[in-house]
Symmetry: C2
Subunit: 147 residues, 2 copies
């Protein structure tokens, strides 16, 4: 049951990707050579959201996991915020700040999760890795374009 509550939270975050898609504005931006192709984003995020819900479920079974679950809540709110700020409001600098805070929250969540349960920490690793790519991409787009 708890797995599906976490999955609902991830579905809310995923909905931003359906509502605020990359359009002509994103296509017109100068992007770095390491930019993943457009199809890679929904694929990566689908996998990450499923892993996130699984990690949340595993954490919820561990006594004393409340602080990590607070971080889980903070990351899903920041995650839900990023897409409309970038693709909706085209606020690339604000999006970068949100992404940097999100990265820190997820990094701390991974460290604390590893201490509670190594498997859960590993389940969260692809998320942290993908956020590194997203941070580099957002930062590069900010520098390469007059925004």
């Amino acid at each position: 049951m708890t797995f599906f509550i976490f999955l609902l939270a991830c579905a809310a975050a995923a909905t931003t990707g359906v509502m605020f898609k990359p359009g002509p504005w994103y296509e017109s931006l100068t992007k770095p050579s390491f930019t993943p192709p457009n199809w890679a984003f929904p694929v990566a995020w689908t996998i990450i959201y499923l892993l996130l819900a699984w990690a949340g479920y595993r954490l919820s079974l561990i006594p004393g996991s409340q602080t990590v679950l607070a971080l889980w809540a903070a990351q899903i709110a920041l995650n839900t915020l990023w897409t409309p700020v970038f693709f909706g409001a085209h606020q690339v600098l604000a999006a970068l700040v949100i992404l940097a805070v999100l990265w820190v929250v997820v990094a701390v969540m991974v460290v604390l999760a590893l201490q509670l349960d190594v498997v859960t920490g590993l389940i969260l690793f692809p998320y942290l890795a993908w956020l590194c790519v997203a941070l580099a991409l957002n930062c590069s787009i900010l520098m390469k374009n007059r925004l």
Copy 2:
């Protein structure tokens, strides 16, 4: 410390109100007579977000609160999603669906919180009450306008 993590999650949700403000589009809508004045929204939400962070903190101190914290995470993601969908994408029907799901999640969270700690349940009551107003308003706007 945990209080500030929950407050960060609320800050992410609150940022949507700064990024996606009511503009000419919202002003032009036909609204019901019970529509609160514009100033009431940031005031109500500031109070509600502080109460939400406080409730999250109180819940995090209670053993066995993991399922309620999962609901807390789901509600903050749905809360963060609503504003850009309504004020950003102008998708009034989709916003209504999101708000209805949010209402159910918060109602279940309040019921479970009351069982763990009566005070925390009461702290969350203004949120549920305000969501009733928001639901009625969103629904009425959908019916009164050709959207």
